[in-house]
């Protein structure tokens, strides 16, 4: 039998390797260690170079992050985002011309409360991560997910002025940066560390209640993603960051692409999975890890000792069919095992997707989804699949199907077709009174009806599906409900006014 070579620690050469052995495709000398794509096997040294280079190349190619800009790294403690943190550290320690030139900070959102971790477990995880973060030397913001309950409604109103920076201004910024600063150390002298504040038990319970109100795991996962994103963007804004880096890798992007289609998020695919995402206007979300497969990341983390912590997710240890997202992951992973180009093929598709540019004259946020803040995809022509779905749903529910078809219930003869389905009191007390009362929460049925049809009109198709799976919409955080009521009042007011200005737009 073969013997293990003495130089094994170097990880490069072994005198005899049992069974198949291949040389590294790059240096053609050292023994290959990692197969990253069919046929491409790298040695340890070349794999490291390839990995580090790819990160810088990704940022260089896209030119979205400007020199000197504050960038918030969203680190969950999982393999991908931990690897991302390491890449930023590597990038900042490179010599001048290869050096990354932005100012990173770290945010960790502690979701322990919704995945059933005890206070003690959460504290331990946070402590372990803090050690890693402190070593990086960047500002650290540790935030419990519970804080999402206290967000201001303004988070849902996207800032209208998107960054107008272009490729040429990027060049100018780089030049200026090189002149004034010479790329000298950006590492802050005093590391700002915001520790995890103690979490109120009742807050955790409120959050758990909200999560449990989602009757399916599919909806629960979507809800969690939505809340997490709101909290991320809010923290970025309040701490003065312009960009947020997310750790989504290529495998995740592929899974997300396929599951998003299944979830009815086709119109938002480009934003959900692309390299950059500007749905929040002033805060750009960036996904620099999407060029790496989950396998590459796991290998890198293992071989180069990137610490990560195990944090259970909502779908940890669940059965394959527990949710659409989980089933998609299993499906893609199985396919990938047999056809190693599956993930890259799927995720390259997502690169080709483009967001349709909204006209500059589009009226502000009323056209954005209340929850995911993407453009509403529900204003479609009559022949669309969406309308067909609505029609068939209405037909199958039938006139007696109460809750979902307010219009039909209130107006079975169809006398008042033009009236919006947001009338508050079936008793006909007058839309005006009811609108006023709703602001104070006084109307008998206002909340309930807001829940039913009115909330739907503020949501994109996919978020409508998610909300449909919530047992009670009242458990949604206050910032969402109050923003919903605000938008509703506005559109109600617009409707009232339009009665007096009859013919104004039509004429």
């Amino acid at each position: 039998m073969c013997q293990v070579d003495e130089h094994y620690e170097e990880g490069l050469e072994r005198a005899e390797v049992p069974s198949v052995s291949r040389k590294c495709v790059k240096c053609k000398e050292a023994e290959a260690t990692v197969v990253i794509r069919a046929g491409d096997s790298f040695c340890r040294t070349c794999f490291r170079e390839y990995f580090i280079h790819k990160f810088r190349a990704m940022l260089g190619k896209n030119r979205i992050i400007f020199p000197g800009e504050k960038v918030l790294l969203a680190v969950s403690g999982g393999p991908s985002s931990s690897s991302m943190l390491r890449q930023v550290q590597e990038g900042l320690s490179q010599n001048a011309h290869k050096k990354l030139r932005f100012c990173p900070g770290i945010i960790f959102i502690d979701e322990g409360g919704v995945v059933g971790q005890s206070v003690e477990q959460r504290r331990r995880t946070a402590g372990e991560l803090l050690t890693v973060f402190r070593a990086a030397g960047f500002p650290v913001h540790m935030v419990p997910l519970e804080q999402v309950l206290d967000l201001p409604s303004s988070i849902l109103a996207s800032a209208s002025l998107a960054s107008k920076r272009t490729a040429s201004s990027y060049k100018v910024a780089v030049d200026r940066f090189v002149r004034t600063d010479g790329g000298s150390s950006l590492t802050p002298q005093d590391q700002e560390v915001m520790l995890l504040p103690p979490v109120n038990q009742s807050q955790t319970q409120a959050l758990q209640q909200l999560m449990m109100s989602a009757t399916t795991l599919t909806a629960r996962q979507e809800l969690l993603n939505t809340l997490r994103l709101h909290l991320l963007v809010h923290t970025a804004r309040s701490k003065g960051y312009n960009k947020v880096m997310l750790g989504d890798n290529g495998t995740r992007a592929a899974v997300k692409l396929v599951s998003s289609i299944a979830l009815g998020r086709g119109a938002q695919l480009a934003q959900d999975t692309g390299f950059s995402d500007s749905r929040f206007g002033d805060i750009i979300l960036v996904r620099p890890m999407r060029d790496y497969s989950a396998k590459e990341i796991s290998y890198y983390n293992y071989l180069f000792s990137v610490p990560s912590v195990f944090i259970p997710a909502l779908d940890t240890k669940t059965v394959d069919k527990s949710s659409i997202q989980h089933l998609t992951e299993i499906f893609i992973t199985k396919l990938q095992a047999d056809f190693p180009s599956t993930v890259s093929t799927v995720y390259r598709t997502s690169e080709k997707l483009q967001t349709v540019c909204r006209g500059p004259s589009t009226p502000e946020h009323t056209t954005r989804c209340l929850l995911c803040v993407c453009d509403l995809d529900t204003a479609t022509e009559e022949a669309s699949a969406f309308q067909a779905t609505l029609t068939s749903e209405q037909l199958s529910v039938g006139p007696s199907g109460a809750a979902r078809t307010e219009t039909q219930r209130q107006d079975p003869v169809g006398l008042n077709q033009a009236a919006p389905p947001r009338q508050c009191c079936p008793s006909g007390g007058g839309a005006e009174d009811c609108g006023r009362a709703a602001s104070g929460g006084g109307c008998c049925s206002s909340a309930r009806l807001l829940v039913g049809s009115d909330l739907r009109s503020l949501l994109c198709y996919s978020c409508q599906l998610m909300v449909k799976d919530l047992a009670s919409v009242e458990s949604l955080p206050h910032y969402i409900l109050s923003e919903a009521q605000r938008r509703q009042r506005r559109s109600q007011m617009r409707d009232e006014i339009s009665d007096f200005l009859l013919g104004d737009d039509e004429g």
Partner: protein, 110 residues
Amino acid sequence: LTLIVCQNSHVYYIFDLSLCSGGAELLFNGVKEHHVTLPSHSEPWDIKQLLVWIQQNLLKERPELFVQGDSVRPGILVLINDADWELMGELDYKLQDQDNIVFISTLHGG
């Protein structure tokens, strides 16, 4: 022959047929080590047999999350002495003394 399983939650499993020397320092916080003995065999162990043995002796809960069919579940990486098992003959690789075998789950949430 000593088989040492280092388990980081359920993300890492390390099998080191000598002592958990090199492997341990690569592991991170929350590592659990199980010291078990791999029964002697007339033939040298291969990975396929090792998987069966792990399934029967180490996995108490939901073995299908680790083994499917006679191989590992898709999405679980196998490293043999820090090298991709695809380069080492996968299931047919014959275990040797001092071998270091690592299983890493790439699936979301382990």
